[in-house]
Amino acid sequence: MAKQIIMDIKDFSFRYAGAPKPSLKSINLPVYHNKITAMIGPSGCGKSTLLRALNRIHDLYPGNEYKGEINLLDLQNDTYFNILKLKKENELIRLRQRVGMIFQKPTPFPMSIFDNVAYGLRLAGVKDKTVLEEKVTTALKGSAIWNEVKDRLNDSAMGLSGGQQQRLCIARAVALRPEILLLDEPTSALDPISTGAIEELVSELKKELSIVIVTHNMQQASRLSDYTAFMYLGELIEYNKTDKIFLNPKEKLTEDYVTGRFG
């Protein structure tokens, strides 16, 4: 099967409210279906800003300025629509169900493990208790945390370890069956064992969905992703298959960054 672009970012620029200059300048980047795309670059290069634009989470604060297109593929009818044209709140909520997000620090809700995963499902209109239980179980199993929590689903999620909380957050996002999952440095606050568990989970999840991950850890980008985008000062310097970026980058700037000569 030919590679399919699930999200196509075209000539995209972004300026924060009140900022004198845009933080992202004319970004062109494809996100392939069932692949992991890593975004790397030094602090302040705009990778998290770009990631947060992909599900319009910036819009939680007003006044930001978008230019260009971010086209999301509708897998049902094989057509793209520009998510930058969405205006209504309910459209944006629907977008964030389709394009889920995981943050650097785990963000469990102060409620039970079960309710954490069921929360989004209830918001999405799932009322039937049996269906809810089935979907929560599937999400927890799919997020490789089921065995650790199956006997304490009614316990508070706050009692889980950092790594477990992060996997719970992934389960919460996965329960809504998103088409894309955005991960913003999902392991930077975790120990190596939890990091390994999350990485294995992410590499399994790509069979079901497409993933974009922002990471400062170059080894994580290299071992996990299929494609890598290197950003610098708000520009996309180089995008290619991960092995090309880490073995034979075309741009000197990319080579200098991946070899640790700057940044």
Partner: protein, 221 residues
């Protein structure tokens, strides 16, 4: 271990083992060609190894990719380095076999008279085969005990090869003294068996690399 990391390691392992298996088969075909006077088998052996260098390059590139993307450490790193160097040893062995297979075709066509050396030659070829076979088995050896047995076996067969080569050289010199007109052929023959003798030397390297991959320590080839 990440699935893609495991896949890339397994792929390199399969490629190394496939090359090793073809090297052993080609060696056996060459020996059979010599014993049975069948030039077809010598050609078959040469064909089997004709793209050994390309296969070597593929494995090298796969390993470079593994090093670049996955930064293996400890045992994983030793295994990857061992694959890289074992492939190089196998490729050299394949060169010796191809070269010898060419000479075998000349022997079969009657251009060389070697009947007086037949017994020693057979012993030498058999020890070489055993050393190569044991070295290849060591790549897959899982237990320490099995690896140590194979290590000993390769070293014993390599010593035998050295001894038989000395006997063969002495006999060849005697034959040259009796029939000086055979001198040129005999020198050619010595050259070819000297190359073959390196197979057991390289087999020792392979088993040392397999040992390094499993047990660690410093590489000494």
């Amino acid at each position: 271990m990440l699935t893609n990391y495991k896949e890339i390691l397994d792929k390199s392992r399969r490629r190394v083992l496939a090359l090793a298996s073809d090297v052993l088969t080609a060696y056996e075909l060459t020996v059979a060609a010599s014993r049975e006077g069948d030039p077809e088998k010598a050609s078959e052996a040469r064909n089997l190894l004709k793209d050994a260098h390309n296969r070597n390059s593929k494995i090298d590139n796969e390993i470079i990719k593994t090093l670049a993307l996955f930064s293996p450490e400890a045992r994983d790193l030793r295994v990857v380095i061992a694959y890289l160097k074992i492939t190089s040893e196998l490729t050299r062995i394949s060169d010796y076999i191809r070269s010898y297979a060419k000479k075998v075709k000349m022997q079969i066509s009657g251009e060389m008279e070697l009947s007086a050396l037949r017994d020693d030659m057979n012993s030498f070829l058999e020890s070489t085969r055993k050393s190569l076979e044991a070295a290849i088995a060591s790549i897959e050896a899982e237990s320490e005990e099995k690896l140590e047995n194979l290590y000993r076996k390769v070293n014993v067969e390599e010593s035998k090869c050295d001894d038989i080569i000395s006997i063969l050289e002495k006999n060849i010199l005697q034959q040259i003294c009796v029939n000086p007109e055979d001198a040129e052929d005999m020198v050619e023959f010595i050259k070819s068996i000297r190359k073959l003798e390196r197979i057991s030397d390289r087999s020792v390297n392979i088993v040392k690399l397999a040992y390094f991959a499993q047990k660690g320590g410093k590489l000494k080839l």
